[in-house]
């Protein structure tokens, strides 16, 4: 299949092609493979990939008014390639960023020096709904408040930039691994020929990380993955990860706290749990401390955590560091805590809580992306150039009513990559979510979850809004 009708735009970085239409150096092998495949071969391959996801049940469930629908994230069979030098840059940037974010969390829940020194305003931190006063005075093992992080990166003609840090319960890692399994089975020769670096040992790295976080004196910890339950849309991932790390998959009702220790019900009795990889939001973790109506959590869990008898991963309260207002201060955190210059850039962000930024945002709404500080999944945002005047006016009124709840950013030309759309290659915008682990040290697999905005021209890559995914191949030297 050729790329005859594949459209390039100079203002948008293309992951496979130079601006003159020639394939980038590191993409030549894959380009040749794609070029040599017939249309039928490729379409059959795409069909196999989709069927494989359905058969393996790699699905998420959408609950409608009447019935639940099981869906897969549409997987594009053409991988996105990243040369190793670029990956090293990403890796060191993410390591730096996570170290700084963990220092920030340790600081704001203890001495709050960064606030006292005027680097970040008090109200940005303490006014954030994700700031958990219950966590004040606590420390995390190895200083790792965030041990599992999924950072969203975008690429423009200026290079990579961080769009947001997901520090609470980042998801998508199961798709990274499952997509790899399926895609490499379909591109066997190109895969071997390209010396693609492995991502399938993620489970081992995660297990090592969680083991390091066990309470002091516990060398062979019992690890449990706490899921909100089988009706959660990410349940497949919870089950997948529990298997990958050999952990017990539990719901809140399977756990109980007695005498400051956490126990799991088993068919032979109670068994102590040392490390909990929780996929339940802070609000629902412990009804005694957080939401009293929560049925998903475990009464007394935070008490056991405070006593140091169980590790919670990620720690409660980490959401304050991935709030979209706090995000804009991450480069300052890196300078403040690490005395280093940020390796990965932030996207220029204006906080509407500041009068001058509010005025700028309202005056330039048609050129900006505006987001709620606590929003996620592509909801609660406005993409100015794609919105109608009525939509912009309506959003402006909402911003004026609660300015502190909004930030604005320029509309960025996310890079594009070739995707098989119907029966031909078309460019689609993509982002990249690598997963970073942090115990006593930082661990990463070379790859990530690459999301695609499947709709032509769209910049919204979220799977909840019709986005797809593709494999990322980080190439060996």
């Amino acid at each position: 299949m050729d790329f005859a009708n594949y459209q390039l735009e100079a203002s948008i970085y293309d992951e496979m092609f130079n601006t003159d239409g020639s394939p980038r150096q590191h993409c030549r092998e894959l380009y040749k493979t794609l070029f040599e495949l017939t249309d039928t071969d490729l379409l059959e391959m795409q069909e196999r990939v989709t069927r494989s996801f359905y058969q393996e049940g790699i699905t998420f469930i959408v609950y409608g008014d009447e019935a639940a629908t099981e869906r897969i994230i549409p997987i594009d069979s053409v991988p996105r390639l990243v040369p190793q030098a670029e990956w090293r840059h990403i890796e060191s940037g993410l390591d730096q960023r996570l170290r700084a974010l963990n220092r920030f969390l340790e600081d704001v829940y203890n001495d709050a020096k960064i606030i006292a020194d005027g680097v970040i305003p008090t109200d940005v931190v303490r006014g954030c709904p994700q700031y958990r006063i219950e966590m004040r005075g606590l420390s995390a093992p190895h200083g790792a408040w965030v041990s599992i992080c999924g950072t969203d990166l975008i690429r423009t003609n200026d290079g990579y930039a961080v769009l947001e840090d997901n520090l609470r319960v980042p998801s998508g890692v199961s798709y990274m691994i499952e997509t790899r399994k399926v895609i490499k089975a379909n591109f066997r020769n190109a895969y071997r020929g390209s010396q693609v670096l492995d991502v399938e040992h993620y489970g081992r790295l995660l297990h090592q990380t969680l083991t390091e976080l066990a309470p002091s004196g516990v060398t062979d910890p019992t690890i449990a993955l706490l899921t909100p339950g089988v009706y959660n849309s990410a349940f497949y991932e919870h089950m997948f990860l529990a298997r990958e790390i050999g952990a017990e998959l539990v719901e809140g009702r399977d756990l109980l706290v007695n005498d400051g220790f956490v126990f799991m019900r088993t068919t032979t009795g109670l068994r102590r749990v040392d490390v909990i990889y929780r996929r339940v939001d802070d609000d629902f973790l412990d009804p005694i401390v957080f939401r009293p109506d929560s049925l998903l959590g475990v009464p007394g869990l935070l008490h056991a955590y405070r006593l140091g008898n169980v590790a919670l991963v990620n720690a409660p309260g980490t959401g304050v560091a991935d709030d979209k207002s706090v995000y804009s201060f991450v480069p300052d955190m890196i300078r403040y805590y690490l005395s280093e210059e940020p390796i990965l850039a932030n996207v220029d962000t204006r906080l509407c809580r500041r009068p001058e930024d509010l005025e700028y945002t309202l005056d330039n709404l048609e050129h900006l992306v505006v987001k709620q500080v606590g929003g996620s999944g592509g909801y609660g945002m406005l993409i100015g150039p794609h919105a109608t005047k009525e939509e912009r006016d309506e959003f402006a009124a909402e911003i004026r009513a609660d300015p502190a709840n909004y930030i604005s950013q320029p509309v960025l030309a996310l890079s594009r990559a070739p995707c098989l759309i119907d029966d031909r290659f078309e460019p689609r915008h993509v982002d990249l979510r690598p997963f970073v682990l942090r115990g006593s040290k930082t661990r990463m697999v070379p790859g990530g979850f690459c999301r695609i905005a499947l709709k032509e021209g769209s910049l919204v890559v979220n799977s909840s809004q019709g986005g797809g995914a593709k494999d990322i191949w980080v190439l060996g030297d």
Binding site: Q55, E56, T267
Partner: protein, 314 residues
């Protein structure tokens, strides 16, 4: 998972028997078959009480709707699709406990049948459809036997399968007995089709005769030691699985479960021969099997932490 799939398999075989009967059996026999199914699952058809029409055509139209309700009707929890879907959903929820091969085997069949409707199977060969689904469930069991780790998950799955088999078989035999008593023109072919559902017709013919004696047929289905789906063999297997699971958190409850399983097995092994109240006997077996089901649930899964000596001693 084990229970739902076992029930789905029974339903497949009953419906296949009905689909076969529709080709060449008398209307009375077909009617008896429908009533046997509905009595066994303790339901009324959506359209109300079953009537035997004097004209063939009415009965054939009825057959279509009855088969649809028992095959694809999602609002009927006993339908083949409902049972299969529930079994598959249970498997989805415990995928971390089963092998990949088990999941793929079950899910592939689910994807094949989930969007089918009655017209898709009725005008070609409904028997083939039911046979294929039944074979897929058997294959799932085979894949499980070949690939699943023999931990407690395996034993609980098998235990559920045998308890369901025991209960469904009791219900089916009770339905047969009751309908037989009330039928004016009872026919031995009604037992023939039942033996076929239990994979026992060939065995019966080899062992006894091609003429079917209801008493001998019932005896075979209840007390035969080698017939895979006889009550005696099934209850023995359930007891073995329970013994393999071992003690639960509370020794007293575990012991009570073992005692009940033993009592149930003894009832079939030693009491059956001397009893002449078949219906009361079958009801007793079914009642014991329910008690056993609840006892196992409360012993291993739904126990109160405060009831565990280990908890109290901390």
């Amino acid at each position: 998972m084990g229970r739902y799939l076992e029930r789905a398999n029974f339903m497949c075989r009953l419906l296949r028997s009905q689909a076969d009967a529709l080709v060449d059996r008398p209307i009375r026999e077909i009617h008896f078959g429908w009533r046997r199914i509905y009595t066994a699952i303790d339901r009324q058809p959506l359209g109300g009480i079953l009537h035997l029409h004097p004209m063939d055509d009415y009965n054939l139209v009825d057959a279509y709707f009855l088969a649809d309700e028992l095959t694809f009707e999602r609002s009927n929890p006993e339908s083949l699709l409902s049972c299969f879907e529930n079994g598959r959903e249970n498997a989805r929820q415990m995928r971390h406990c089963i092998s990949d091969e088990m999941w793929t085997s079950l899910n592939t069949e689910y994807l094949r049948i989930q969007n089918l409707e009655m017209p898709d199977i009725w005008h070609s060969s409904p028997s083939t459809f039911y046979s294929r689904v039944s074979a897929a469930i058997d294959m799932f069991s085979g894949v499980a036997t070949a690939t699943m780790y023999r931990d407690e998950g395996w034993h609980f799955w098998r235990f559920g399968q045998f308890i369901e088999r025991l209960q469904f078989a009791c219900s089916l035999l009770l339905a047969q007995q009751r309908l037989q008593k009330s039928a004016l023109d009872y026919d031995e072919s009604d037992w023939g089709s039942l033996l076929r559902v239990f994979h026992a017709l060939d065995v019966y013919e080899r062992r006894y005769s091609i003429e079917i004696d209801p008493k001998l047929a019932l005896n075979l289905l209840v007390s035969d030691r080698q017939l895979p789906e006889s009550l005696r063999r099934t209850v023995g297997r359930a007891g073995q699985e329970l013994a393999s699971i071992g003690d639960g958190p509370n020794q007293q409850s575990s012991d009570a479960g073992q005692r009940l399983a033993g009592r149930l097995e003894a009832l079939i092994r030693f009491d059956w021969e001397d009893r002449d109240d078949d219906e009361a006997f079958l009801m007793q077996v079914r009642s014991y099997s329910w008690q056993l089901h609840h006892l196992v649930s409360s012993t291993y899964f739904d126990y109160a932490a405060e009831d565990i000596p280990q908890f109290l001693s901390r």
